[in-house]
Symmetry: C2
Subunit: 187 residues, 2 copies
């Protein structure tokens, strides 16, 4: 792995664990095994590097979601596969956790990859719901984008509840509850 990739990967990990305010340039350099001069050769500073790390985390999250959402099965099955795929629940979401960081929300460069990832995910879930409606599998009803936002929110809120309880159980309960409600939309 080249120096730039090592810096990005170390920043991805530290942002996930400690958030933006809790991640120092020094900690990034130490984890990447890279000197200060080398870091500033590749990146202008912490904001620049953090934006690159969040863009990469967003790409990786989209690729993972597409495995299930673009995979085989009915619309309901694709959504079920996505909601129930293996996750490191107690670590929380590396994208969603950034929304609690006031310095991220206030900086348009840092917030953009977070917002874009959720926009993509909501749009993709809404497409799958529309697919299911066109195929006569899911009943028409509320706007697909509202159901999609509710499903994305269940995952994001599920992480919050799991970390609060130091247990994965509330996350899995919330997902099962959401799937039970979605199942009642089957035609």
């Amino acid at each position: 792995m080249n120096t730039s990739d090592r810096l990005i990967e170390s920043t991805q990990e530290l942002l996930w664990e400690r958030g933006y305010v809790g991640t120092s340039p020094r900690a990034i350099q130490q984890r990447a095994g890279v000197g200060q001069g080398s870091m500033y050769h590749h990146f202008q500073g912490k904001p620049d590097l953090a934006a690159a790390a969040l863009r990469r985390s967003g790409e990786q999250m989209r690729a993972l979601a597409e495995q299930q959402l673009g995979g085989p099965g009915t619309a309901y099955q694709r959504i079920e596969n996505y909601l129930q795929r293996e996750r490191e629940v107690l670590r929380g979401c590396r994208i969603g956790r950034m929304a609690q960081d006031p310095d991220v929300v206030a900086d348009v460069e840092l917030r953009a990859p977070v917002q874009e990832t959720f926009d993509w995910l909501t749009g993709r879930l809404a497409e799958v719901i529309e697919d299911g409606r066109r195929a006569g599998e899911l009943r028409p009803g509320a706007p697909a984008v509202e159901l999609a936002q509710a499903l994305v929110a269940v995952l994001q809120g599920g992480y919050v509840l799991a970390r609060s309880a130091e247990s994965e159980e509330p996350f899995h309960q919330a997902v099962r509850g959401a799937l039970a409600l979605l199942k009642s939309q089957l035609a």
Copy 2:
């Protein structure tokens, strides 16, 4: 307001805005207009004061929720009133945001009021769902606690999506989506 209450209220505000790691004892003293000696007369330190602030925020959140969940109306209406009541969406949830803070999650005294608040809220929503089922208003189906966790997660995740977008709209969309799904449970 006495000194102890001023310190607790200032800590509640700072934790909401900046999180635990972003809140210094000095900032608390400044906002409360209280000297360092006086703060350490009333509280052992930042962890002790933060735990008191989170307990009070939890009590206030429960009292607000009870206005709708224990109010008039059918089970569905009480839940709808609760999910749609006025909120400062872009500020996020002062309880849920703490779950992203690694120092809060790692400290049992700080995590306890967060977990207890969500346990109470999930239990109370499950009671309302059970009320509705006993009254023949809601159909039997998935365990009430799973539906309740999904609803709490929609709110918590809705805050995440709204802050990511710097717009209240994703929160309101997620709530409308969840209510549309819940409505399909009406008998």
